[in-house]
């Protein structure tokens, strides 16, 4: 199950972060205090996404060590920490897509298909003349499309 997707710009600035669960971690209670209006869960997700950015940079700058083809957009599994798996995707314009999921078995193909659709949705959102490059994506249509893509990811990899 996908926990969160994020789009990060080329200066490592977050352009879009969307979570898809409502607090599934059994160790935490709802009474944990809110920090500046963000719940603990969304901060945790921000933190995971932020950490994975370092892995992205490392993969890109040291292609030989990681054994990856240098010019692939799909970066694969970034770091399987704790209960989460994080997948990365880097576009030509240095925009990074991060996918955080709690699935234990995610097929490579599914992640690639997901990122392909996500890239299409992103390009359409950015082509909006009212969108300011470098600022957060505020389009509702983009949010709806992303939700659709996330739902279809869950279904196809469920089998």
């Amino acid at each position: 199950m996908i926990v969160c997707v994020a789009v990060v710009g080329h200066q490592n600035n977050p352009l879009y972060i969307q979570s898809f669960t409502k607090g599934d971690d059994s160790l935490l209670r709802i009474s944990i205090l809110n920090v500046e209006g963000c719940s603990y869960h969304s901060l945790k997700r921000h933190h995971i996404v932020h950490c994975s950015l370092d892995v992205v940079d490392e993969r890109v700058n040291n292609p030989k060590k990681s054994g990856l083809i240098i010019n692939e957009t799909f970066l694969g599994l970034l770091n399987p920490t704790e209960n989460y798996k994080v997948y990365g995707y880097l576009t030509n314009t240095k925009v990074k897509f991060i996918l955080v999921t709690t699935d234990l078995e995610v097929r490579d193909v599914d992640a690639r298909v997901f990122f392909g659709r996500f890239h299409t949705a992103y390009v359409d959102a950015v082509s909006n003349p009212f969108h300011i490059p470098g600022k957060k994506i505020t389009s509702r249509k983009f949010a709806e499309r992303v939700s659709t893509i996330v739902k279809s990811f869950g279904l196809s990899s469920g089998g």
Partner: protein
């Protein structure tokens, strides 16, 4: 699903942009109009480069990105390949297009040419036509600059037209190593000095 727009609509829109900004919004300030048009082109180029790099493998270095701009991006945008590419291997690239489609249907008013000096009619006519079409070149320059900047390459772009119809010479200079040069170039990309800009670029290359 590929959506299509008629080419004449695009050309009319571009001509109208130049007309509105030059005689409407910034009627007596051609410099401001030029910057505004170039900024519009910048945003368009930014967004178009996102779309056209979508299905491609990542570029390994700057040269790959420039090759992409010169070949694929140019042919998607202007429906034909460039005819000549020159570089001085120190960050300057000159793209030449012998029949630039966006300006192919433009002509210069012949009465303008007839009122020139008898001594030097050809140079005068050329100068006037260069001035008239100079404003139309800011938008394509902006597009190229926006696309390059989205791929991570900061540069200065200038364009020059020689002999209508439409032999366009578009030059861009990578900003980092040649900062002083681009400052000169920016100051010379004004309506009166399109020729000087072209000469400056040519002097670097040859």
């Amino acid at each position: 699903m590929v959506r299509e727009v008629s080419e004449s609509c695009v050309e009319s829109l571009l001509a109208e942009i130049v007309l509105s900004y030059c005689s409407g919004f910034y009627a007596n300030k051609p410099e401001l109009a030029a910057r505004r048009i170039e900024a519009i082109g910048f945003q368009v180029g930014h967004q178009l480069s996102e779309r056209y790099t979508m299905d491609r493998p990542r570029f390994t270095d700057n040269l790959d990105a420039i090759k992409f701009i010169c070949k694929d991006f140019w042919s998607e945008l202007f429906k034909k390949q460039i005819d000549n590419l020159k570089t001085n291997h120190r960050g300057t690239f000159v793209l030449q297009d012998n029949r630039f489609r966006w300006l192919a249907h433009m002509s210069v008013d012949p009465s303008v040419q007839a009122s020139g000096n008898i001594q030097d009619p050809s140079a005068m006519a050329e100068n006037k036509s260069a001035q008239a079409t100079g404003m139309h070149l800011y938008f394509p320059c902006g597009i190229i600059r926006g696309a390059l900047s989205n791929l991570g390459i900061e540069c200065a772009v200038s364009a020059d037209i020689s002999n209508l119809p439409a032999s366009l010479c578009l030059a861009f200079i990578i900003l980092m190593p040649l900062l002083w040069l681009s400052q000169n170039l920016f100051s010379s990309i004004s309506l009166q000095n399109a020729d000087y800009a072209a000469l400056l670029v040519q002097s670097i290359i040859f």
